[in-house]
């Protein structure tokens, strides 16, 4: 069971990484990032749950909360790019202002 979960976690992480690298739309890249976070949470949560370690569950819970905050900031950035009139694609964002 543990090997299966670790394999699933690794494949989910690789697929998320592939989404970040291969997709050009910011929202699709963001989905890939979230998939990588979920893959890491799965591996850590599985080991913590199997061993009965409350500290591991606390770590996963804090990671999920930070990922939720990251989601808010990331999606806000995507929306602000859209409101500024630029396309929400990675290729169009090559310069910083200020």
């Amino acid at each position: 069971m543990s090997a299966v979960v670790w394999a699933v976690s690794g494949m989910l992480f690789l697929l998320g990484l592939a989404a970040v690298v291969l997709r050009r739309q910011l929202l699709a890249m963001f989905l890939g990032l979230e998939l990588m976070v979920v893959a890491g949470a799965l591996a850590l949560g599985h080991e913590a749950g199997r061993a009965g370690l409350a500290e591991g569950l606390v770590a996963v819970l804090l990671v999920l909360a930070v990922a939720a905050a990251e989601a808010v900031v990331g999606l806000t950035l995507v929306l602000r790019v859209h409101w500024s009139g630029r396309p929400t694609e990675a290729d169009a964002l090559r310069e910083l202002r200020g």
Binding site: V4, L31, E34, G49, G52, A54, A69
Partner: protein
Amino acid sequence: MIHWLVPFAGAAAVAFAALMLAQRSLYAAAICFLAVVLQVAVLLYASGARLLALLLLLIYAGAVAVLIVVSIQASGGDQRTAAPRSRWNRLGLPWPLLWVGLLLPVFDAALLAARAVGTPTSGTASDLALGPALFGPYAAGAEAVALLMLFAALAVIKSPEEKG
């Protein structure tokens, strides 16, 4: 039965993650992501981290997935990939994919419920120890994360310069 459920949920999670990568429609990719999260919650539940599975559903399937869909709508990010005359959906969202993604967790839950018949429903030891650990030795970390979430929520607010 739980040993059979884990490979099934894992295979479904990987399949939907691959589908997410292949989808052109952002709505369809978001639905695939939601299906992956549901299957990962099943895996966590089967691993004994029941409370964590529930929190994953609350945070990701509840909050983050809704934020993603609202962001897709607000940014018009799916205009180029939508297929209004599609056989399946005006948004280019394949209905079979949607139904399979949302019905698979029901199937998983039925398997888990069939396994749990006659067994006590109390939480596992790690779940019961999560609260005291979270608000005991890790209270400072929990407070820091709560503050971070507050500051993240402030990022949505437009400054007066941006409004002007």
